[in-house]
Symmetry: C2
């Protein structure tokens, strides 16, 4: 398919690389950030523009990957009647694209994507579409790059629910790592020594329900260790509060 | 080296397999759980016993891997003067072994270990020792199975600090996965679709400081999305409370 990207950030970079690898043609990249757009255009041997009026009308599908708050104002300036247009956000209604084309939708990659990534991570794609034509085009596109070539249809509410869970397992877990890294630095222990454990914790959830492999002082109601840990975290109020909240939850205490 | 295990649980199973693979001889396994001990003895072509008086005096080193609360009572029954004896717990003082032998210590694997594991995970080993002889023997043993053959010396306080961080990145993170899995089941979304994201979140921390790759609604102070998420979690008070606590921490709000 012939694809235009609107936006030149992390999502564009990774989806674009996957599209190119799958044999699609990136026709153009539009972005207010001219240098980011031209870098990706160079990578994919295509053209870029930072004029909205210069966006080509000749593509099959337009993928909008800009920050959540920018989608709606940008959509007001876009008129692509007859074309299929989708945004990639987890938490924005597809209906903000209503005035752009009848064939609008969402192309939501359930993954954390970064331009600098040395590899293209497995990425389940979740599709919502306003018309059959949009559904068909977005499904075909998704099937070429999705994890196991699976395409998932979702309602807006289901996508929002997926987005919450994605925030928990990615953003909130990353914050725990951040607080632990800061604790390690300040206390003179080496955060790197935790990487095999972090890796194995993840491996395990691939093979077993996490509910069945819970271990640690909280599930044993080992109050001596829990209290010792809270003392060790005395100077780290964020980590201490989070440690206590999650441990209470593991113990089944009312929160 | 000739090794005796005291205890027949997950830590014995995985450390034992690593020792065998490194060319050591498991001389005997003592456990109150005769069937678990004999299963491992069969695996390693050695003997097992459930009589404490039958523990051989002919080994070089004795590794005690029993539940935290069982170490001290068990140590009171053990007399192995001249031998090197270590426990494997993250949160128990080495001094509970004082009466067993002068050459006591700790052999702490910073990893989550399960008998059923299909592989032997990378495992950094942290050693504490009461005498030079204990240090020498435990160091040599650790070097044969430790991640990158590195041996780490720690003080009791440093080991306790490592143990807190291990609980956070393993037990607390696993509880987040557990709550998310339960939410997915109840809300009809497929937890398995989150596995590539969980995997990638871990990959990233191998290559970048987590502090530098924080994303999501909280770091953007996107209160619209945060409030929408809290509404979606309305029927899940544990997950909602944890979501709010960690998001507040990311936003830098006082906790």
């Amino acid at each position: 398919m012939n694809i235009v990207f609107i936006g030149s950030g992390n999502v564009t970079a990774i989806l674009g690389r996957k599209f190119v690898a799958a044999g699609h043609k990136i026709m153009q990249i539009y972005s207010r950030n001219a240098s980011a757009a031209s870098e990706l255009a160079y990578e994919w041997d295509t053209e870029s523009t930072n004029y909205i009026s210069m966006i080509t009308k000749d593509a099959d599908v337009y993928i909008i990957s800009v920050s959540d708050n920018s989608i709606e104002p940008l959509a007001k300036e876009l008129h692509l009647p007859g074309k299929v247009v989708a945004h990639t956000a987890g938490a924005v209604s597809k209906d903000v694209l209503q005035a752009v084309t009848p064939h609008y939708g969402v192309f939501y990659p359930l993954q954390t994507l970064r331009k600098e990534s040395p590899h293209l991570p497995d990425t389940p794609i979740f599709v919502e579409a306003a018309t059959e034509q949009a559904q068909l085009v977005l499904d075909n596109l998704a099937a070429t790059i999705s994890h196991n070539h699976e395409v998932h249809h979702v309602t807006e509410l289901q996508r929002e629910k997926l987005h919450v869970t994605a925030v928990v397992v990615n953003n909130l877990v990353n914050h725990l790592y951040t607080l632990v890294e800061a604790f390690c630095k300040a206390e003179g222990v080496d955060f790197k020594q935790l990487l095999p454990l972090i890796q194995e914790t993840t491996e395990r959830v691939n093979n077993s329900s996490p509910a069945l492999v819970q271990t640690g002082p909280a599930i044993r109601h080992d109050e001596v260790t829990l209290n010792k840990h809270l003392e060790l975290l005395h100077n780290y109020p964020q980590l201490k509060k989070i440690y206590k909240t999650i441990s209470d939850s593991i113990e089944g205490k009312a929160l």
